[in-house]
């Protein structure tokens, strides 16, 4: 604050405008671009490349061989059953995301339209609180709740609502509950922000023109909140496909679902590396996951474009 600004020399009006040729622009952008290039792009390029390496005498050997991929696809539906694991991952990710949106949307709506303005911020902070506590420890707590002799089953048996404990742990329902608890705070926040920005005058107009509250919802509120639903869906799918913890801690590794007792693809990638430290093969598996992600994201954006 002590340094004086040179106010004695007035500048020409042209120089009041942002200087587009300024060096500052490059200096400010350089750190982010350089950092992302070295520690984001380079690792991803490496990942795809290492997928073509081979392993000899427990050492990764640079080169170009398709052996990893040939091996992976040769046991796609047999020994390691990657195909089934990918199907399980997609099934769990899509159902969890759909469930998340279906459950969080009414919650966010109630928050926006029912709760008095001055209470909303407090309730929103409470709703996103779980996000600020350790995810892995929340899963551990869910174990305590969902176990065969855990809190939920003890309570239900005491109330005589059920005779035998519900088997939730070590099924993909366990996985879904854990994932939902991770996704819900963010989905609620996204949907809340979008719904809060909904133009109230449009809703009022619809009501004045004789629309019922359901018609107002279907024709006005829901279409206006589509971006929020789309963001929530992308977020839910990316997290669910990449998560290992819920499937391991609550799903028990090979959780039962409609499709059968198969592990999630993400867990396979992690466990195969833990067991073998075979980086080339792990990289090939991860590259497959990238392919799946790209297909899903492209489909999502195509859908979003056709909506507009």
């Amino acid at each position: 604050m002590t340094q004086k600004l040179p106010i004695s020399t007035p500048r020409s009006p042209a120089r009041w405008l942002p200087q587009e040729t300024s060096l500052l622009k490059y200096l400010c952008l350089a750190p982010a671009i350089i950092y992302d290039s070295i520690f984001f792009l380079l690792p991803l390029i490496f990942l795809v490349w290492i997928g073509f390496w081979s392993v000899e005498n427990y050492r990764a050997v640079p080169g170009f061989s398709l052996s990893n991929y040939l091996d992976i696809f040769s046991q796609f539906f047999t020994r390691s059953r990657y195909g089934f694991a990918i199907a399980q991952s997609l099934w769990v990710a899509f159902t969890t995301t759909a469930l998340g949106i279906l459950l969080c949307y009414p919650f966010a709506m109630a928050l926006v339209f029912l709760v008095p303005e001055r209470l909303q911020r407090l309730l929103l902070v409470l709703a996103i609180m779980p996000f600020w506590t350790s995810y892995i420890l929340r899963l551990y707590a869910w174990q305590t709740i969902l176990n065969n002799n855990g809190l939920l089953n003890t309570l239900l048996v005491r109330l005589n609502w059920i005779k035998d404990p519900l088997q939730i742990m070590f099924t993909q329902w366990g996985t879904r509950i854990g994932l939902l608890h991770y996704l819900a705070p963010i989905m609620i926040l996204i949907l809340y922000l979008v719904l809060r920005n909904t133009d109230r005058t449009l809703m009022g107009a619809a009501r004045n023109l004789g629309a019922t509250q359901w018609q107002t919802f279907w024709r006005v509120v829901l279409p206006l909140s589509k971006p929020g639903i789309l963001y929530s869906a992308v977020f839910g799918l990316i997290i669910s496909l990449g998560d290992v913890l819920s499937g391991t801690i609550l799903g028990g590794g090979t959780g039962q679902s409609i499709l059968g007792k198969f592990p999630l693809f993400s867990a396979i990638i992690l466990n195969e590396y833990a067991a073998s430290t075979n980086l080339p093969r792990t990289s090939a598996l991860a590259t497959l996951l990238i392919g799946i992600m790209i297909v899903i994201l492209m489909t999502g954006f195509k859908l979003a474009e056709s909506e507009q």
Partner: protein, 279 residues
């Protein structure tokens, strides 16, 4: 017309809505309450009926020391990674907000991409690169990797704050003869502080809780979530509940920060001029 009618919600629906909110909060809070309650229960396998109170799990946590050691490690690496991401993010957000140049939209999209890639993939990828550089298996590798995934939200949040700044303030500074650097650190930086602080908080939380990348690259210097994962596989102990309660205590402090900094940033967006800062 009463307010209830103006909102167009009838009483039955309103009651259903409140009940739904209550059920939702029970779902959201249940694991946290469980964690805290059972950290004080005198039983090796946490279950009901209640077996009495104890502090022994906190004792065990202190004597064992492994979890505390990794908590310490996490409390060093996460604030630093968050700070680095926030500083780099601030400059990028400023440049994107202030200047126009060809490829600007593409660049701001590219800056977001790291959070669209599942951490699992990045974990394997980092391991590949870092093992070539002989940097794997240390806490430094966690730092280097985390900065990448923390930058996107930092750029987005600080960009949000900068977009709320009236453009004429910076121009006034120039008019008064400040050069670009002076305007940047005397005018723009003070304005951006709430955004920077909010971005740092969010980044810290992400890093502090991040498991998969840390699992792949941290090796013999595990962060807290990695330690807990190993612990879970080896021996279940209520001292995990005690750890959870401590972590929760840390996050309550953070939450107060969020309430003060982050939410106003997100909620006041609609009151200011809408900008196309999000690509």
């Amino acid at each position: 017309m009463s307010t209830q009618q103006k909102r167009g919600i009838d009483l039955g629906l309103a009651i259903a809505g409140w009940v739904y909110l209550l059920l939702g909060f029970i779902f959201l809070m249940l694991p946290i309450v469980t964690l805290i309650a059972f950290s004080f229960e005198n039983a090796r396998f946490p279950t009901l009926p209640w077996a009495g109170w104890t502090m022994q799990w906190y004792q065990e946590l202190l004597t064992d020391g492994r979890l505390l050691q990794s908590l310490q490690r996490s409390l060093i690496v996460s604030p630093l990674a968050a700070a680095a991401a926030t500083v780099i993010g601030f400059f990028a957000a400023y440049a994107l907000n202030r200047f126009n140049f060809p490829g600007k939209n593409l660049l701001s999209t590219l800056f977001i991409v790291p959070i669209l890639v599942p951490p699992l993939i990045l974990g394997v990828a980092f391991l590949g690169l870092l093992s070539r550089l002989n940097l794997q298996g240390q806490i430094l590798s966690v730092f280097l990797a985390h900065v990448v995934i923390l930058m996107p939200t930092a750029i987005a949040l600080i960009g949000l704050r900068l977009a709320q700044m009236p453009k004429d303030i910076e121009e006034a500074a120039w008019n008064l003869g400040a050069n670009e650097w002076q305007a940047l650190h005397r005018v723009i930086l003070p304005w951006a502080i709430p955004g920077i602080a909010g971005a740092w908080l969010l980044a810290f939380t992400f890093s502090f809780d991040e498991f998969i990348i840390a699992w792949f690259v941290s090796g013999f210097e595990p962060t807290l979530p990695v330690s807990i994962y190993t612990f879970l596989g080896a021996n279940l102990s209520p001292s995990l509940n005690a750890m959870g309660t401590i972590v929760f205590g840390i996050s309550v402090v953070l939450l107060i920060g969020v309430e003060l900094l982050l939410l106003p940033l997100l909620l006041d967006r609609q009151s200011s001029v809408q900008k196309d800062e999000t690509a």
